[in-house]
């Protein structure tokens, strides 16, 4: 199991345990972490699983690729930054143990 911490927009922290191979979206949904909707089922189509990766973790997670569906979708999300990613596109690996993700105030 890999530990992932979600930080809500009001600062509240929620640590959850995730199975390797699941995505950060599933980590949130399966543990009822509020603020991540993941409407489309995790196929990179709805941008309702937007998170800000903690700056300390962004290199391990990987930055958003410039071309591609994920970048296209995030264009329309509210409050994106250089640390924005879609949680359904972040597979959980052992090297991400301790990962910190910030949940935006709104998914739209």
């Amino acid at each position: 199991m890999v530990k992932v911490t979600f930080v809500a927009s009001d600062g509240e922290r929620r640590a959850v345990e995730v199975e390797e191979g699941e995505t950060a979206r599933e980590a949130a949904l399966f543990n009822d972490v509020p603020g991540i909707d993941g409407d489309c089922g995790g196929v990179c189509a709805c941008a309702t699983c937007h998170v800000h990766v903690d700056p300390e973790w962004i290199d391990k997670v990987g930055r958003l690729m410039k071309d591609g569906m994920e970048a296209d979708l995030l264009q329309f999300a509210e409050g994106t930054t250089e640390y924005s990613r879609l949680a359904c596109q972040i597979p959980i690996k052992p090297m991400l143990d301790g990962l910190v993700l910030h949940v935006p105030e709104e998914q739209y």
Partner: protein, 420 residues
């Protein structure tokens, strides 16, 4: 499923039909609301079911929640393409002179994504919230005109009116002519068999009128300052303003069609469900805050679109069954929404569920309903306004249901209103 009112022998008959004779495509099963008994059997005995012969040809039925999700999110194998038959159990047919409007709901990647991306910002909830006060006020006006204590048809007097009103508001459509919107929505999806249009010729004429009308609105909006309505947004947004006109029209009509029957039947279905479950109605009256979770529960319960269809692009195994390239695959959302292995007490209408949005009514995957937040917003406003005025919308007679295997519709619902 209301089994009490059904003849015993029907229920018994359904329980004993051999599996390979089950054909859930028959519209009469939806009109009599007995299709649920067939779905109960399929989920238990043959969740991925092949029907060899039916009036729509052979097709696969996917009936369990997780299998439906697996098909819906696998757009590489399961195509929505209109030319392969499209998104409904009955094939989309190209007809001579039929004025084909292309809509991205019946396209695959990459074209689907380009078009959807262009239209998405116009229905972003942050924009829609700006329209909330107008929708609320107009809903109030419609409800205030209704007679108290008299029997009326809720569908015609309320559900259709409110839906037409919200559509007209979203598009800032000329108010006096708002019923045109409903008409155009009806004919966009109509085939002559339905009796809504006389012929494809007649339909074509009306659609041209519709095209000209929207062209006029577009030209008017593009010359004005940007506003919050969807036409103005599409006319001014860099993603959509240079769209070829027919493409714009297709997208616009998709937004109208997408929100018409579905919203209308959710409004009717909610009233019926509350009446069939008086304890839930009591809960609502004691705690109107529950409207927030009641709205998604109504959408699950009603399942305004019973299914979406796909065409397999390659051989694929699901639930131990071998689906062949070219096969028609039907995801029965209505069945998945009653799947007790995923949804707790799935056969009950419960307005304070913990996780009410976990349902299939909006589909999943790249085609997931684009108007889901908008639909919920509209229904929430409408229910808040209904609640303020009426202590009960009492159903006083049997509902009548639509003869359709796609739109789960209520065509008549006699009610009496009780003032608060």
């Amino acid at each position: 499923m209301n089994t009490q009112v059904m003849e015993m022998d029907t229920a018994e008959k359904i329980a004993s039909i051999p599996l390979d004779e089950i054909d859930v495509a028959r519209p009469s099963l939806f009109q009599s609301d007995t299709v649920g008994l067939f779905f109960d059997r399929l989920r238990a005995e043959d969740p991925v079911h092949y029907c060899r012969e039916s009036y729509v040809g052979p097709y696969w039925s996917i009936t369990k929640f997780d299998d439906i999700m697996a098909v819906d999110t696998n757009h590489k194998v399961f195509s929505s393409e209109a030319k392969l038959g499209g998104i409904a159990i009955q094939d989309m047919h190209s007809v001579e002179g039929g004025l084909e409007l292309e809509m991205f709901i019946a396209m695959d990647q990459p074209k689907h994504d380009q078009q959807r991306k262009a239209v998405t910002p116009s229905v972003a909830p942050s924009n829609l919230q700006l329209l909330e006060p107008v929708i609320r006020e107009r809903a109030g006006e419609i409800l205030d005109q209704l007679p108290i204590g008299e029997e009326i048809d809720w569908v015609d007097k309320v559900s259709v009116e409110l839906t037409t009103m919200t559509l007209a508001t979203l598009f800032d459509f000329p108010w006096e002519e708002r019923r045109k919107l409903t008409r155009w929505s009806d004919i966009t999806t109509a085939a002559p068999e339905t009796g809504i249009v006389e012929s494809y010729e007649a339909r074509r004429e009306e659609l041209i009128e519709c095209a000209m009308y929207f062209k006029g609105l577009w030209e008017q909006r593009i010359n004005e300052e940007p506003k919050n309505d969807l036409i103005s947004m599409m006319a001014h947004s860099p993603a959509t303003r240079d769209m070829p006109f027919l493409e714009f029209l297709g997208n616009l009509l998709l937004l109208i069609v997408g929100g018409n029957d579905t919203t209308r039947n959710s409004i009717s279905g909610g009233v019926l469900a509350l009446n069939q479950n008086p304890d839930e109605y009591r809960k609502l009256n004691e705690n109107p805050e529950l409207i927030g979770s009641m709205v998604p529960e109504i959408i699950r319960w009603q399942t305004p679109l019973t299914h979406m269809r796909r065409t397999a692009l390659e051989d694929y195994e699901i639930g131990g069954k071998q689906i062949k390239k070219g096969d028609k695959v039907v995801m029965w959302y209505l069945s998945g929404n009653r799947d007790g292995s995923v949804i707790d007490r799935a056969d009950q209408f419960i307005i304070d569920r913990k996780n009410p949005r976990h349902h299939l009514s909006f589909g999943y995957g790249i085609h997931r309903c684009m108007g889901n937040r908008l639909a919920e917003l509209q229904l929430r406003i409408i229910w808040e306004e209904i609640h303020k005025r009426f202590s009960k919308v009492e159903v006083t007679g049997e509902p009548e249901r639509l003869f359709s295997n796609l739109v789960r519709g209520i065509t008549k619902l006699p009610v009496r209103l009780h003032a608060r």
